[in-house]
Structures are given as structure tokens and as C-alpha cells.
Amino acid sequence: MNSNNSSSSSKKGSSTLLIPLVKGTVSAGFPSPAEDYIELGIDLNKYLIKSPISTFFLRVSGNSMNNAGIYNNDLLIIDRSIKPHPGHIVVALLDGEFTLKRLIKEKDNYYLKADKENYPAINLYEYLDIHIWGVAIYSIHGLQK
């Protein structure tokens, strides 16, 4: 420990406790054998987000994508840098709302479809106004209510 930083004032009889400013550990007793192996911990941002510039979060409302593992109130991570491909779950701009659908391709036609039975597919050629806003990469689902 660097004593200059910690106890210079005690010589003058002051009772002020100064906090050491140097980085390093105080060795009292045996040094921890794990000291050299300590890592910074898991950073979920790093793990989940490849492109921070193009990543946005959205809150899910509704259950039409339950079969895809996305539930009401989940936190959805969108990466706009990904080009939408068939099979991707995408956020589409439809009737002034963000809508969550799966992009599918059948016989050269592209459709947006909910992952639930009896939900009509939207043919992208019929709705020229549809705009795909981004591709969903993760959904964070809380397990405790």
C-alpha cells in the first residue's frame, strides 16, 4: 500500500480519514489466490448487442407471437443493420403502428404473418405502404410476475 496517500495527515494529529487514491489492494492476511483471475463480469450489452449504433428497444404488446417465444410485455431488441430475410421476425410499420410479424416467402411472394393460427398473412405486394423498420434479434422475457 502506498502510505503517502493514506496517512500523511495523521502525523499532524488530524483525525481526518483520507481514502487512498491509488489503485491496488490492501494486503491484510494472505493474498487471494484468485486475484489474478478476476474478470469484469458478464456484460449483457456486449453479449446481446453487436451493433450499438443500430440497436433499439421496443416493448411488446399482445400475444400473437407466442409461438415464436415472444410474449406480452417482453423487451424486444431490434438491430436495424440486419437486412430482413424470410424467416426473420420483423417490426413493420403498418397503419401508423409498429407491428411484430414473421417475414415469409412463398412462391416468390413475401408475406408478413403472425406466428399463430387463423391470423391472415399480409401480402407485401398488396400493401405497398408497408415499411420494415427493423429485425428483432432477442426478446427478453421476465419469468417472475
Binding site: S51, I53, S54, S61, I70, R80, S81, T99
Partner: protein, 425 residues
């Protein structure tokens, strides 16, 4: 291979940010109001086409906006700042140098293969920005900063060019420069425009070709530089580091007039904290503080006052700056005046690295270091939670005199409570 200067800006930037995050605004007219919902400071292209003017007071146009079904938003600087950050990071990756000029504007440089038009390069950058961030940009390319600015005007003006123009490959620029009014040339202000007009000079071509002696006599090197840049000679360099600013100003209008010293002190304290945290962010120190206050400029007894104090040692310590500022506030305060605006300016900024120590301030450095740590801690907490989570005593806010933002969309990508909803119905 030569160097090309590019100038990039976001089209209707504030409006584009709002549209990017709020799907209900798609295809609709939109205007953004200034702080306090005072004036219209930005319009979407639809609102512009419907003839909504810039800078007009909101209350005057309220009915018209309603009739035209134009949406209105208070300025959401959290959102614009976030989108701006993303934009600048993306641009930095795609340019050799980058100078961030304002929230929605940047200059950059790229290599130009001999005489090759950079339209393709611009086109893919534009597509990349739209795909990643969802906002449209315009790109002007030229030999100098002034020419790249002009190129950007042309990019917006010439529809078929879809937001890109490269004046750098045009050998005879007369045709294009003639289309640019002299007041649109970067660096030429109102006064110079009038002076030029009196001499019969109205467009950029005429300015480029006028006698440089005349310009030098009246406007010195500064004026000459603009002319030379127009001729394609580089005079204004790209400044990559934006942190070597000479001053920081934090100033705001209140949502209602303040006439008590106590409330004024709260306001000034808050601005000091914002300004000094900015100082620390860029590792700078300030050695002079100005506080200014003003009543409504349109009121009959318009009153405005400011006071400056120099510091012996440059500092970024909130406590020191706060203490001085509050003394200054008391000095310039006048009872019975209804103040509508206050501000704090920190000047004579210098880098933290060359911190000057007074000869006789023994023993203080230890305490100084602790204060620095404390300030940084407060900054980090405020960054993590909300700007006002921690502050110093005098800045504690009882009344909400902060700016009025009644039409705030409250959508942003930077706080979990404010993210948009996606429907899976």
C-alpha cells in the same frame, strides 16, 4: 488520389428523429417547437410544403396547424442527442477525419481516386445511415469546406440527385455557383450580404470573381478565406477534436417569470451543474465565470444584466463555480423584475492536463483530488439515473420552473420507460 471534403447533414433533423421513433407520424405534417413551446424550429417536408413558416410563434399558428392536421411536438433533445450520437459514430467509421459541427451536421474527408465522382460512395453512405438509424441525410462533396457546403445546398435543390452532389468533379463551376445566393455561402452573414448587395454582388460566382483586395480591405483575412475556399483553395481545416471549445454556455428560458432571488439561485445553480459536468466530460477547466439574467425582451422595462468573475486557479469543481456564480447572481439581481431567462458561461477553458497550480496552495491538492472524485461520482450517478438525481444544496428544485414541454412525445431510445410499443395483436 486527392482529398475530398464532405459535408453531411440530417434532413429536417428534429422532425426526422420524431418520425423515426413514432410510427403514427408517417407521411404526416409535423412541426417541432422550441424550448418552452415558443416557436416553430423544425418542420417535416410535408409541413414545409403546406406552407408552414419557420421561426413563427406557435400560438399564432395553432389553429392553422389544427386545420391542416399537422402534428405538433415539443423538442425532445434526449431523442435528438441520441440519434445524433449514432449518426456521428456511423459517419466516423466511414470517413477518414470527422468534425462534428452541430447536432445534425458534420464535415469529413475521404480519399478521391483521380477525378472519380464520389456519387456512388455517397449513395451507399446515405443508404447505410437510413438502414441503421432511419433518418435521411444530404451529402455535399467538394474541394473545400465552403464548396462542400454549397454542394450540400445543391444536393437538396436538385431533386433527381436524391440528396448527393459532388461539385469537386465539376471543372467549370460557374453554372452551379450562379444558383447559390451569396447569403447561402458559409461564413457570409447578414451584414456582409448587404455590403455585397450594394456592390451588385448577389451570387456565389460573383463573389468568387470579385476583387479580393476589396474583400480584404473590408473583411480582412476572414473574408478572403471564404473567397479562396470558393476558388477551391483550402483555408479552413477540418477540426477533429470538438472538445477544445473556448467556452461553455448553458442558458434557458423559464416556463414562467421568476421574481425571487431564491428561485433565480436555483435556476443558476442548475445551469452551473450542467455546465461544470460538461467541463469535466471533456477534461477541461474554466478560469472565468459569467452569469446573466434578463426579463422578457418584448416587455416595456426590459432589463438585462451580466457579471463576470475571474478565478485564480482554473477549475472544474462544481462547488467553486457554484459559489462564485451565486455571488454574481446576487449582484445582478433586481427586485420586482420578472426574469424570464438566465444563463451561465464558463470561459477561458483549458485542458485538464496542464492544470496550473498556484505556488502557495500546499495541502490543498489532496482535498482537490477528493472533490474531483466526488464531482465525477455525481456525474456518473446523474448519467446513470437522471440529470437531477444528485446535486448541490442550492440547486434543489421545489418548483418546476424548467422549460415547458407540453407536446413532448416522450418517446426515446435511451430510457426504458420511454421506448415505443410494438403490437403483436
Amino acid at each position: 488520389m486527392s482529398k475530398a471534403i464532405i459535408q453531411i447533414d440530417g434532413n429536417n433533423f428534429y422532425a426526422s428523429c420524431e418520425k423515426m421513433i413514432d410510427p403514427s407520424l408517417k407521411g404526416k405534417g409535423l412541426v417541432i417547437l422550441s424550448n418552452n413551446d415558443g416557436c416553430i424550429i423544425a418542420r417535416s417536408s410535408e409541413a414545409r410544403k403546406m406552407g408552414i413558416p419557420m421561426g413563427q410563434p406557435y400560438f399564432k399558428l395553432k389553429n392553422k396547424l389544427k386545420q391542416l392536421n399537422i402534428s405538433v411536438r415539443s423538442s425532445n433533445y434526449e431523442l435528438y442527442g441520441d440519434i445524433s450520437n449514432r449518426l456521428m459514430q456511423l459517419l466516423r467509421k466511414n470517413c477518414e477525419e470527422l468534425e462534428i459541427y452541430s447536432i445534425d451536421e458534420a464535415f469529413g474527408t475521404i480519399k478521391r481516386p483521380k477525378d472519380k465522382c464520389l456519387y456512388q460512395w455517397g449513395n451507399s453512405l446515405r443508404a447505410l445511415v437510413y438502414q441503421n438509424i432511419g433518418i435521411p441525410i444530404s451529402i455535399g462533396i467538394g474541394e473545400t469546406k465552403v464548396l462542400s457546403k454549397i454542394s450540400n445546398h445543391l444536393a437538396k435543390k436538385i431533386q433527381r440527385n436524391s440528396g448527393i452532389f459532388d461539385i469537386g468533379i465539376v471543372k467549370d463551376k460557374d453554372y452551379y455557383l450562379q444558383q447559390i445566393k451569396v447569403n447561402k455561402v458559409w461564413g457570409i452573414g447578414k451584414r456582409m450580404t448587404k455590403w455585397l448587395k450594394d456592390k451588385g454582388i448577389t451570387n456565389a460566382r460573383e463573389f468568387r470573381d470579385m476583387s479580393s483586395k476589396q474583400i480584404k480591405e473590408r473583411y480582412g483575412v476572414v473574408g478572403l478565406r471564404i473567397q479562396n475556399e470558393l476558388k477551391g483553395k483550402t483555408c479552413i481545416a477540418i477540426k477533429e477534436i470538438t472538445s477544445d471549445r473556448k467556452e461553455i454556455c448553458v442558458s434557458k428560458s423559464f416556463s414562467y417569470p421568476i421574481d425571487s432571488l431564491e428561485e433565480l439561485r436555483q435556476a443558476v445553480s442548475k445551469y452551473v451543474l450542467i455546465a461544470s459536468s460538461r467541463l469535466r466530460k471533456y477534461n477541461q477547466l474554466s478560469s472565468a465565470i459569467t452569469v446573466f439574467i434578463a426579463t422578457n425582451i418584448h416587455s416595456r422595462n426590459f432589463y438585462k444584466s451580466e457579471e463576470t468573475e475571474k478565478l485564480n486557479i482554473a477549475t472544474s469543481d462544481s462547488r467553486v463555480i457554484l459559489e462564485k456564480s451565486l455571488v454574481l447572481t446576487k449582484k445582478i439581481f433586481r427586485p420586482y423584475k420578472k426574469f424570464t431567462k438566465a444563463g451561465v458561461i464558463l470561459h477561458k477553458l483549458q485542458s485538464n492536463q496542464y492544470k496550473q497550480k498556484l505556488l502557495f496552495n500546499k495541502g490543498e491538492s489532496q482535498e482537490e483530488l477528493h472533490i474531483e472524485r466526488l464531482d465525477n461520482l455525481i456525474d456518473n450517478i446523474n448519467k446513470k439515473y437522471r440529470r437531477d438525481t444528485l446535486g448541490w444544496g442550492s440547486s434543489i428544485i421545489e418548483k418546476d420552473w424548467g422549460a415547458r414541454r407540453e407536446k413532448l412525445s416522450n418517446l426515446k431510445a435511451t430510457s426504458i420507460e420511454s421506448i415505443p410499443t410494438v403490437y403483436a395483436n
